[in-house]
Every structure is written in structure tokens, then in C-alpha cells.
């Protein structure tokens, strides 16, 4: 069906008028949203959606914000898991997992990186062996964000060592609630511990939880990563409710967020907090320093042009062009912006920039920016990897000569 902005607004408005209740139970409400197709309206009708173009997403968000309605759960990597299952899963898997992703009942994480393979994800040495009706998993993952809260993980593991590295990988849904899975938090340079080491000792994945066929792992992981890059910096979704709303559902939501958002409290800081720059430039007086002005303006110009570039990419998609590797451009822009923001915060803060904690500038937020920005150019694929992708897939430049194309068992490893 053809959607128009007015049609969406009218229909959603009347749905919210008749159904939204700030004292409803959070779970009941989200199930109601899911059944009505207003949780993820851009999804297919068959799977809780309305086939609505992405372009109207903001209209939907706007209507929710207007009445302060709570939406479906979106935090963390749950939507990456969902998009991956929508693209590559089977109906039984979609039936089993999609709803609880959206209700917030189940938490997901991404089990890709390993001590020996980060940028080179296809070098995974986590072993998957089929024994009867189960895949038996042995090995280790690392930097796994939210694993300490996770119910399920998107797992990339190797089932075949005799073929070239990209061909021997498979993709699984791993249940964390079993004895073969051990999670150890890892403390980060900014003091938080949002990522973990995850060890598998004969962990089990039923065959029914394999996504795609043997050897499809790499291709499916690319889908997950493409969605991650597209949403880079946007994983932590803020609710933009206007005004103050009261009701018991908000208390339930706040309780839930204590867990769901715990690993992400520092994510805005890692993106550089460009929003703090002008207000601080005014209070610190940096706005009238000619050297500082140049750096501040460089940052604001970069940030504004990046925003317009993202809008151009979105508009192109709405005109029917497929989502392509240009997500990498946005990710690279995000790194540049974060680095420039850290530079600007430093020069506006002066010697106070060596302090941290409650008494330090912006109650420690400036220190947290300075110590979190280095993560943005690593997580989700380093800047160097983004440049490889851009030069090869957008610009059509040649690949480097490879030394890892033979059977994986013969390839040099860490």
C-alpha cells in the first residue's frame, strides 16, 4: 500500500488515542504495539511491521514523542540481531526471537571478535563441530559488549578448516544460559566495563539455531556489520519525549534501562559530545579566542556537513538506491568528528583537562570524553578498515596482495 505522511499520522494518532495508557504494563503495551505493527512499522507485515518506507520513520517517532508513548525496545544490538534474522533467518527463528527482541525480554550481544581476529574477522578460530543434532562450540570471543547481560549471542564460528578462511564459517544463535559459556568482564581505559571475554567449553547450539547454511557465516556477518555501520553512534537511542509525563510504565521502563543502558552510558562521550561545545565555548570564553574559534568552527562545519551527508544518503535510499558501503563514510566521519571534538574540549578546558571525577569540568563528563573517544575509531571496524572498504568498494581501487587465500589450516595465525 502507498503511505502518505498524513495517513500515517492520522492512523497512528487514533491508535495512540485509543490504546496508549501511561499506566499500562510495559510488556503488555509493547506486545500491543507489536501486534498493531507500530513497533517497527518499516518491517514486513508478516513480521510485526507495516511495510512502511523508512522515510516515514521520523513521523512515527514524532507522534510517539508527542504523547510521550513508550516504544518497543531498541537499545544495544537487538535490532542488528533482528535485521539479520529478517534477512537470513528462517520463519521458525523469526517466530521464536523477533517478538522478545522488541518486548525487551531478551538481550542480545555480538560474538564476532576474538583475541586472534578482530579486523580480520574471517580468521575466527572458534570451533563449531556437529555432534548429533547439536553444534558443539569451543573457543573464545573478546570485546563482547553487553555479554554480561546477554540471553543470546550472534556467533561466528568455524566448521571447516580445509577451505579458504571465508568459506569455512557458519553463523549461530548462542544461548547464554548454559554451563559451557563463561563471561568475564574486561575493564576499559575509561574505567567502565561494558565489554567482556566470553569462553566456550563444549557449549551447545541446536541445529535449529544455525542461521543459513554451513559456510554462509561470512556473508551473514556482513549483513550484521552493514547495519551496525549504518547505525554507528546511534546504537544508543535516546527518547525525545517532549515535556514531563507521569505513569507507572515510565517507572518500569526506567528499571529496565538500568540494565539495558548500563553498558552504553559513555557512548555519547565517545562520539565527542559536540552538543556541549557551544555552551562551553560561551561559559569558558573560548568563543572570543581567535585560535579556539578556528577549531570550534572546524568541528561544527564537519558535524553539520556530516549530518547533511547522512540525510543525502537516506534520501538516495528512499529513491530506491540500495544501502551500500557508504555507511563506512559515515563511520569515518564520526571518528573525525569525535577526535576534533576531543581536541576542542581540551583547548577549551585547559589544565583542568587533566582532572576527572565529580569535581572536574562538567562533573567528569569532559574527562570521560577525552578517555572514551579513542574507542570510536576501533569499535565496529577500525578507521583503517573503513578506508579499505571505501577505497575498494566505493572508489574501485585494487585490493592488496593477499597471503591468506589457501586452506585456512595453512594460513599464518597469531
Amino acid at each position: 500500500m502507498e503511505w502518505s505522511e498524513t495517513a500515517v499520522r492520522n492512523e497512528l494518532r487514533s491508535f495512540l488515542e485509543s490504546s496508549w495508557d501511561p499506566n499500562a504494563d510495559l510488556l503488555d503495551w509493547r506486545n500491543k504495539l507489536i501486534d498493531a505493527g507500530w513497533g517497527m512499522p518499516s518491517w514486513p507485515e508478516r513480521w510485526y511491521g507495516r511495510n512502511m518506507p523508512l522515510s516515514l520513520q521520523s513521523v512515527v517517532a514524532d507522534e510517539f514523542a508527542r504523547v510521550g508513548a513508550v516504544s518497543v525496545a531498541r537499545t544495544g544490538i537487538r535490532l542488528l540481531a533482528a535485521e539479520t534474522l529478517l534477512a537470513h533467518g528462517n520463519d521458525a527463528q523469526r517466530e521464536r526471537y523477533l517478538r522478545k527482541i522488541l518486548t525487551g525480554e531478551e538481550i542480545w550481544c555480538q560474538l564476532f571478535s576474538e583475541p586472534g581476529s578482530g579486523s580480520d574477522l574471517a580468521g575466527s578460530t572458534t570451533r563449531a563441530e556437529l555432534v548429533g543434532d547439536n553444534w558443539v562450540i569451543n573457543g573464545q570471543k573478546v570485546w563482547t559488549t553487553s555479554a554480561h547481560h546477554a540471553d543470546f549471542g550472534l556467533l561466528l564460528a568455524r566448521h571447516d578448516w580445509d577451505v579458504p578462511k571465508h568459506q569455512g564459517l557458519s553463523y549461530f544463535i548462542l544461548d547464554f544460559h548454559q554451563p559451557g559459556v563463561d563471561v568475564h568482564p574486561l575493564k576499559q581505559m575509561n574505567g567502565h566495563a561494558s565489554f567482556n571475554q566470553v569462553f566456550f567449553n563444549d557449549a551447545k547450539v541446536p541445529r535449529s539455531d544455525q542461521v543459513g547454511e554451513d559456510g554462509d557465516g561470512w556473508q551473514i556477518a556482513m549483513t550484521t556489520l552493514m547495519h551496525e555501520r549504518r547505525n554507528a553512534g546511534n546504537i544508543f537511542v535516546e527518547t525525545r519525549r517532549r515535556g514531563v509525563f507521569n505513569g507507572t510504565i515510565y517507572e518500569q521502563e526506567a528499571e529496565e534501562n538500568k540494565i539495558l543502558l548500563e553498558p552504553y552510558t559513555w557512548y555519547p562521550q565517545r562520539a565527542g559530545r559536540v552538543d556541549l561545545v557551544l555552551p562551553r565555548a560561551r561559559t569558558t570564553g573560548a568563543i572570543s579566542d581567535s585560535a579556539a574559534r578556528q577549531e570550534i568552527a572546524k568541528l561544527l562545519i564537519m558535524a553539520r556537513c556530516a549530518e547533511w551527508t547522512a540525510l543525502r544518503a537516506r534520501a538516495a535510499q528512499q529513491q530506491g538506491q540500495p544501502q551500500g558501503p557508504e555507511g563506512s563514510l559515515g563511520k569515518l566521519a564520526g571518528s573525525n568528528i569525535a577526535r576534533q571534538a576531543a581536541k576542542v574540549h581540551t583547548l577549551m578546558t585547559g589544565i583542568d583537562a587533566m582532572t576527572s571525577g565529580e569535581d572536574s569540568p562538567e562533573s567528569g563528563i569532559i574527562a570521560e570524553i577525552l578517555l572514551s573517544v579513542p574507542a570510536i575509531s576501533i569499535a565496529g571496524g577500525t578507521d583503517e578498515i573503513q578506508r579499505n572498504i571505501i577505497s575498494e568498494r566505493v572508489l574501485g581501487m585494487q585490493k592488496e596482495p593477499r597471503t591468506d587465500t589457501g586452506p585456512f589450516k595453512d594460513v599464518r595465525k597469531n
Binding site: R304, R387, S391
Partner: protein, 376 residues
């Protein structure tokens, strides 16, 4: 442009301009014109008007134009910047037409615009006095009793202009904004001498005025001045031209790198080269977004234009110069030769960078106007 995407009509316009310039704006011809006293090819300049119909793109139909918008004008300019097409288009169809459109009375528009839009006349705007590091439009000279004596420099295409629109203050209000004035092209008090530009694909002149009779464009007694708007419009036009040139440079880098072999493989397989190109693409895409957004702001009469115009020019300056410098580096020794084409774009990048304000000036200005950004 529907907010952030070009319409089909706009894409077709770009296509047809590109095709025309591929035929008529070859580098070979440009190189010949660099030694030509006029510096441009009359027939292919006239073809813009007669054949392509982009002479007065954004000039209303009642004044002989095509009646399209500023976005369409900027599409034409981006393509011209890409092919480095040497012509007085920027001076006449953009700067002079804008001055008349913004400042002129209805009568003046009806009088002056049709010959500009048809290509019958070449006009330009005499803006600059001396080089000034902090203020683009540092105009100090005054018109006294409808007569002007003074020297204007960096006048683009002054050497071929039939009509020079003068920017000067009104002696009655020396602290006010500059105004626009018309002179008779055959006034014996006007002397035009060529200045030598590093960029011989865009000619500049010094124009001296000696007791030249001038007539105001519009109402100079009014306090209101369109001077700032004129500058913003010019910045946006130039920024769009510049991103076109930057894009050409990037494509030439990628092309060269894919073909040049060292150490037994194409240099485009080396990360030092690939990563430079990836960074360039990002800078150029950001600059395009700035330039396109600012063009749309003109089309929409958006009050945030002054801040967008400075963003567009600063971003275009930085992207074009980076592209120019990297392009020479990526080409190696051949890139530093006269025979290689890269330096033609390098020189256009450099002359455009300093025309209408360096990035330093525009960064400062965008902060002056940043309140508009917070609103817009």
C-alpha cells in the same frame, strides 16, 4: 532538490551540461585558451545560451531567463568546475545577474537582464579594492554625486565585460553597507588592465575609474542593502563550482593509481594511496553536502543562509585544496609537470580558495552567525 536529493529534472540538467562540456570543454581546448588573449571560446560560450539554454538559468522568464532556481544554477556551476570550462559565466550569469536581481529596480531588471541571459552581453562586478585578510567585502571607496574615482582589482573577466557593475559606498552614508552602481561601458574614464593570475582559466583585471558617471542600481538612499546577500549568493555559487573540480581531481587520482604500476602492482593497491583517496572522498562528500544545502537554502529563502554560505565556502576550500595537493602527490613526478593536467585544477583550487574569503575568514564568520545554525 527535494530537501536532500536532486529531482529527475535536475539530474537530467546535470547530464546535459556534462555532455555539452565533455564536447566543448576539453582540456586540450582549455590549454589553447590559456594562451588566448580573451581566454575563452566564444562559440562554446554562446552555445551555453543558444544550444544548452543555461544562460539565465535562475533569471525569471519575464527577464529572458529560464526561470529555474538557484539549485539548478549551482548544478551548472558544479559541472563547469568539474571540466574547468573557461568562460565569463560566473562573472556574468552569476555575479552580475545576481547584483541586478537583488538590487535593481523593475526597470533596471527589464533593461539589464535580458542581454545577460541571452549571452548578448558580458557583465561583471567590480568588488575588491586591496587584498584584505579578514574582511571579504572591505569596500571603502565612495561614489560622490553620482561620480566615481578609484581602482578596483581582481575583477573577474573585466577584460571582456560590456558592463561593469561597481560596488562602492554612497558618500552620503560612508558607514553604511556598499551599494551597486552602473556605469556606461564606453565611458572614457574607465581603464581596464589585465592582472596576471596563477589560474589562467579565469581571468582577472584591474579597473580604474576616473570621474566616471554612475547610476545607482535600485534605491541607494534606502538604509537597506542587499550587499551581504549578494556575497552569500556568490559564495554558494563558487562553493558548488569548487566541489565539481575537487571531484574531477579525485577521479583522476583513482584512475591514475589503478594504472600506475610500481613494485609489481598498481599503486592503487597500496594503503598509503588508497587511504588518501578514501579520506578525500569523505572530505569531498562533506563539502558537496555543504554546497548543496546552501544552494537549497537560497531556493527556500532560508534565514540560515548566511551561516550555510560560510560553511559551504570553508568546506569547499578545504576539500578542493586537499584534493589538489594530494592529486599531485599521488601522481608523483609527472604530477609536477606542465604537461600533466593536475596543475590546471590545482591553480583553480588555489585561486578559488582565496576568492571571496579563505577558510579562516569563513570559520570566523560562521561562528559570528552561529545563532542562525541553532535555529535552522
Amino acid at each position: 532538490m527535494t530537501a536532500y536529493a536532486f529531482t529527475d529534472e535536475q539530474l537530467q540538467l546535470r547530464e546535459s551540461v556534462r555532455r555539452y562540456l565533455n564536447d566543448h570543454g576539453t582540456v586540450l581546448r582549455t590549454r589553447e585558451l590559456m594562451d588566448d588573449p580573451e581566454g575563452f571560446d566564444q562559440p562554446s560560450f554562446q552555445g551555453l545560451f543558444n544550444e544548452l539554454g543555461v544562460g539565465g538559468v535562475h533569471v525569471p522568464e519575464e527577464f529572458g531567463g529560464a526561470g529555474l532556481g538557484y539549485v539548478e544554477l549551482c548544478i551548472v556551476l558544479e559541472e563547469m568546475g568539474r571540466s574547468l570550462f573557461p568562460s565569463p559565466y560566473l562573472s556574468s550569469s552569476v555575479l552580475a545577474a545576481n547584483a541586478v536581481l537583488l538590487a535593481g529596480t523593475l526597470e533596471q531588471k527589464a533593461d539589464l537582464l535580458p542581454p545577460i541571459a541571452s549571452g548578448g552581453q558580458v557583465a561583471t562586478v567590480a568588488l575588491y579594492e586591496e587584498s584584505n585578510l579578514t574582511d571579504i567585502g572591505n569596500v571603502t571607496q565612495c561614489v560622490v554625486d553620482n561620480s566615481f574615482t578609484g581602482v578596483k582589482s581582481f575583477v573577474t573577466d573585466g577584460h571582456v565585460a560590456d558592463q561593469i557593475i561597481l560596488v562602492a559606498k554612497h558618500a552620503a552614508n560612508p558607514n553604511g553597507k556598499p551599494k551597486f552602481w552602473l556605469s556606461r561601458s564606453d565611458d572614457p574614464g574607465i581603464t581596464c588592465t589585465s592582472m596576471t593570475s596563477i589560474d589562467t582559466t579565469r581571468r582577472i583585471s584591474r579597473v580604474s575609474f576616473e570621474n566616471v558617471k554612475v547610476e545607482p542600481l535600485g534605491d541607494v538612499e534606502a538604509d537597506f542593502s542587499v550587499f551581504d546577500q549578494f556575497i552569500d549568493f556568490a559564495l554558494v555559487a563558487l562553493a558548488n563550482e569548487m566541489v565539481g573540480g575537487a571531484q574531477w581531481l579525485l577521479e583522476s587520482c583513482v584512475d591514475y593509481a589503478n594504472n600506475r604500476v610500481q613494485f609489481g602492482r598498481p599503486i592503487s593497491s597500496m594503503q598509503a594511496i588508497k587511504h588518501k583517496c578514501a579520506d578525500l572522498l569523505l572530505e569531498i562528500e562533506l563539502a558537496k553536502s555543504g554546497a548543496y544545502r546552501a544552494a537549497q537554502a537560497i531556493a527556500d529563502d532560508d534565514p540560515a543562509l548566511p551561516v550555510y554560505a560560510s560553511i559551504a565556502k570553508a568546506a569547499a576550500n578545504d576539500a578542493y585544496m586537499l584534493a589538489a595537493a594530494d592529486a599531485i602527490q599521488i601522481h608523483g613526478g609527472i604530477g609536477f609537470t606542465w604537461d600533466n593536467d593536475t596543475h590546471l585544477w590545482f591553480k583553480r583550487a588555489k585561486s578559488s580558495q582565496v576568492l571571496l574569503g579563505t577558510s579562516e575568514i569563513h570559520r570566523d564568520q560562521m561562528l559570528e552567525r552561529v545563532d542562525l545554525l541553532e535555529v535552522g
